[in-house]
């Protein structure tokens, strides 16, 4: 093992990243302060809370719901959630007869503007491999039992269109405020690996 002096507690990957960043900073290719700000944006500002606000608005405002389903990109932009990548968003509505879920079998495409960066499971080989072939088995691992009569639709994000699921509003929540409704909406419900109201408390995925 080489002697890594001041960083001897770091893994080879950590050392490799440190070396790369210092090389790029020395060459004037990156500004470390800009990197700090980019990390901060995705750790603290962009995340599934954005998508939850979109869903809550659709639940309380029928015109917005229709606009969201017709032109998701424009409706989401109108709330100020503008993506830096994968800007074209299609929103798919779950109903009493249809359950939608999304995957990217070829890489890890995900609607950053509304959900932030994807969870590790979304990027895992297991999810990418099986979501299209055994969606009901995958959903069962998330604790979701999908009745046989419900049609499952899996959307593979093979292009620069990003998919977001509009979950069904749980029964008995009609009197809640928009803010309170947003609190009910989980990240996994907007990916389609959870049906709200079916199994509260599992896979909240706010992380």
């Amino acid at each position: 093992m080489p002697d890594h002096a001041p960083h001897s507690h770091l893994s080879d990957t950590e050392l490799r990243v440190l070396a790369l960043e210092s090389l790029l900073a020395d060459k004037g290719l990156v500004d470390p302060a800009a990197l700090d700000a980019i990390v901060d944006t995705y750790e603290n500002k962009v995340g599934p809370r954005n998508g939850a606000r979109v869903v809550a608005r659709a639940w309380v405002d029928e015109d917005f719901r229709q606009w969201l389903l017709r032109d998701g990109t424009a409706a989401i932009d109108s709330l100020g959630y503008v993506s830096t990548q994968g800007a074209d968003i299609v929103v798919l509505e779950n109903t009493a007869t249809v359950h939608n879920m999304t995957v990217c079998t070829l890489c890890s495409c995900y609607p950053w503007a509304v959900l932030g960066l994807p969870p590790a499971w979304y990027k895992s080989f297991a999810y990418r491999a099986r979501a299209v072939k055994d969606p009901r088995g995958v959903l069962a691992e998330f604790g979701q039992v999908i009745p046989a009569e419900l049609e499952v639709r899996v959307w593979d994000s093979t292009a620069e269109v990003r998919y977001m699921i509009l979950p069904q509003q749980p029964p008995g929540t009609e009197a809640l405020s928009e803010d309170a409704l947003a609190d009910l909406v989980t990240r996994n419900a907007m990916i389609g690996t959870e049906r709200l109201g079916q199994d509260r408390g599992h896979g909240l995925g706010r992380g």
Binding site: T13, E14, R16, V17, L18, L20, L23, L24, A25, D26, K27, G28, L29, V30, D31, A34, L35, D36, I38, V39, E43, G47, V82, T84, Q85, G86, D88, V90, T105, L106, C107, G116, P119, A120, W121, K123, S124, F125, A126, Y127, A129, V132, K133, P135, R136, F142, E151, V152, R153, V154, W155, D156, S157, T158, A159, E160, V161, L204, G205, G207
Partner: protein, 219 residues
């Protein structure tokens, strides 16, 4: 290319690794890799399709044995070398032995964000005729391009129905190798689970795959 990244339908990867209360980055270095990738992309030396193609060309054994952000790290290093932004020897020289001088001023955050906004959509605003329309039956062509492509193996040769026309988009196969945008219509194509996976699949379930005109033919 028929690469390791084309995973749809594979078995053997085990259960879905679900984590509760997951943090955005699992270690600080992951965030640095993410941010480096964002900041470097703003130089405009490559595009998202070229980046994916570089990732797909990692050695398959390395691809499978690396974590997500490790793959991004290796991909970023390879792109920097391919595009003459750093040399392999600079990457391999320990920082304390390196003698490098700044070649330019780094892009400030505001400029990175401005440049990102320009490339955030792959939609092309050109009036190009569509070969198909919603409701048409189509076959995913049985093609095996050796370069970058976004037609997954699991749909090739299978018959589906155009669900919707997304409009005109950059074609990734050419864009990835800087051979032009070749703009064309992009569709969501609906397949029955049984068409893709045979008689044991659920009779009602559907799989939707986004595909460009060049991937489709009349069945």
């Amino acid at each position: 290319m028929d690469g390791i990244h084309d995973m749809g339908g594979m078995d053997g990867f085990g259960p879905i690794p679900i984590e509760q209360n997951e943090s955005v980055f699992h270690a600080p270095w992951e965030g640095r890799v993410w941010a480096l990738n964002t900041a470097l992309g703003a130089w405009g030396k490559w595009n998202i399709d070229a980046g994916r193609y570089t990732l797909e060309q990692l050695d398959p054994a390395l691809y499978l044995s690396s974590s997500y952000y490790q793959r991004w790290l290796y991909r970023t290093e390879n792109m920097l070398v391919d595009h003459d932004m750093v040399s392999r020897s600079e990457l391999e020289t320990p920082p304390e032995e390196r003698r490098v001088t700044a070649e330019r001023e780094p892009l400030p955050l505001d400029e990175i964000l401005v440049r990102q906004r320009k490339t955030r959509s792959a939609r092309v605003h050109e009036d190009i005729p569509a070969a198909f329309q919603a409701g048409d039956r189509v076959r995913a062509r049985n093609i095996h391009p050796t370069g970058h492509t976004r037609i997954p193996r699991y749909v090739r040769g299978r018959v589906g129905v155009i669900d919707r026309d997304h409009g005109v988009f950059i074609f990734p196969d050419t864009h990835a190798v800087f051979a032009g945008n070749k703009p064309q219509h992009l569709y969501s194509v609906r397949f029955t689970a049984r068409e893709l996976w045979g008689p044991d699949a659920d009779p009602g379930d559907k799989i939707y795959v986004d595909m460009w005109d060049d991937y489709l033919e009349v069945p």
